[in-house]
């Protein structure tokens, strides 16, 4: 386990150097095990945040950090918003992305509490165009299990999570429905949506 971690660390450093040297050297293609390791680290971080059983506030801050670290947040935020993104100014976009990040941590964070004491086993991954689909099994404390598939993409030479399918249901589609409906209720205004997202859960 320890060797795995140090290998991971070395790979991460190598990856960072690779990213830095992207103009100087040809990009080394990321492998399936890189994608799986990303999801292993991500789920470990989520589970340890849940198992600490701290207050919601602390947990949500942790989830927000995990989300920023492992996911392509700007891309997910843009996809969740849809065509409105194109009409938004640069300042509006960045305010929206930052509010979106907090919203995601709270909206899904509440649901993650069900994962208290559960285990996640990564298995059965496959290559997709521009990334990997990493399969996993979430085994809850009561023994029931759920299938989770993680869509990991090569974001500028670095693997990031893009989407998650829980028993076949796309989290991105789910968020799109939520955000779309919030936007409709606010007459399509991204500013009103952003200020709502700052506190919504």
């Amino acid at each position: 386990m320890r060797t795995n971690k140090s290998i991971t660390r070395r790979l991460t450093i190598a990856g960072m150097i690779g990213t830095a040297g992207v103009y100087a050297f040809p990009v080394v293609a990321l492998s399936k095990s890189d994608a799986e390791k990303l999801i292993e680290r991500l789920t470990n971080d989520v589970l340890s945040a849940v198992n600490e059983q701290k207050s919601d506030k602390i947990m949500f801050v942790k989830f927000e950090m995990i989300f920023s670290k492992y996911a392509d947040v700007p891309l997910i935020a843009r996809k969740a918003l849809g065509p409105t993104w194109r009409e938004a100014s640069k300042a509006q976009r960045s305010a929206y992305v930052s509010a979106f990040k907090g919203y995601m941590a709270r909206y899904y964070g509440k649901r993650f509490e069900d994962f208290l004491g559960s285990k996640i086993v990564v298995s059965n991954s496959r290559k997709t165009s521009g990334g990997f689909l990493v399969g996993s099994n979430i085994i809850l404390k009561d023994g029931s299990s759920y299938q989770a598939q993680w869509h990991v993409i090569d974001a500028r030479g670095k693997f990031l999570m893009y989407n998650l399918f829980l028993e076949g249901v796309s989290v991105l589609s789910d968020v799109r429905v939520q955000i779309g409906s919030m936007l409709d209720k606010r007459g399509g205004s991204i500013e009103k949506l952003t200020s709502h997202l700052n506190t919504a859960s």
């Binding site: 392509d72 891309l75 996809k79 849809g82 065509p83 194109r86 649901r111 069900d114 997709t128 165009s129 521009g130 990334g131 689909l133 299938q147 598939q149 869509h151 993409i153 893009y162 989407n163 399918f165 028993e167 076949g168 249901v169 796309s170 991105l172 589609s173 789910d174 429905v177 939520q178 779309g180 409906s181 919030m182 209720k185």
Partner: protein, 247 residues
Amino acid sequence: MHYKIKNLIKVFLLITLGFIFSACSQSNPQEYYDPLEKINRKTHSFNKSLDKLFLRPASKVYGVVVSDFVDVLINNFTNNLSEPSNAANHLLQGKVKKSSNSTARFLVNTTIGIGGITDPASRLGLPSNESDFGKTLHSWGFNEGAYVELPFYAASTVRDTTGIVVDFIMDPINSIIPSRYKIHTQGAKLIELAGDRNEYGDVIDNMLYQTEDSYASQRLYYLQRRRFDLNNNTISDDDLGNPYEDE
């Protein structure tokens, strides 16, 4: 005999009707076909108030009154009642092995399993494999058809609704169990409804009462979950979409 022929004609008509509806559907996995949205939304609010007034409270009572042990027995019993239907549908899909598995499960659990309240078949290496006529229609190449929200029954599609009706009319259990026991089996299924609502309590509460638009969320969860199930729990490249495509 006459009764059976009449049933067969009904089934034939339903399938034809289902085919006409589903022929004009879209097949993009990211999409849904919901021409009946206006009516569906009305049905949705009706179903939601039913849940609020009856099913949700009944499930809370179930959670308190029925012990986990009895819950498992009820679950096993109603699951066992659907094994003949599972067997028939597997067979119609050409899955002979799964069909005989369901038949064996029914025989073992009905006898050794005391009328189906326990599930020794699973421990004997005969795992549960559910099926329905909606799946059979899918395997025969029928499209999903329009999304429909059925009163009392919640989310479905034209294909799955056709499946529900056919399963109901043609259920082999009807010719296995004497009709005087029908009230008991139907009663058990009704109780199981509260049991299921209790089991998935948080998920359903969340979907109905904590989403921005519970109709749209339910449609999404039902369709994507069902498609995943029909595709043997795999996510296709189409499902993944294109992260870099601009909209």
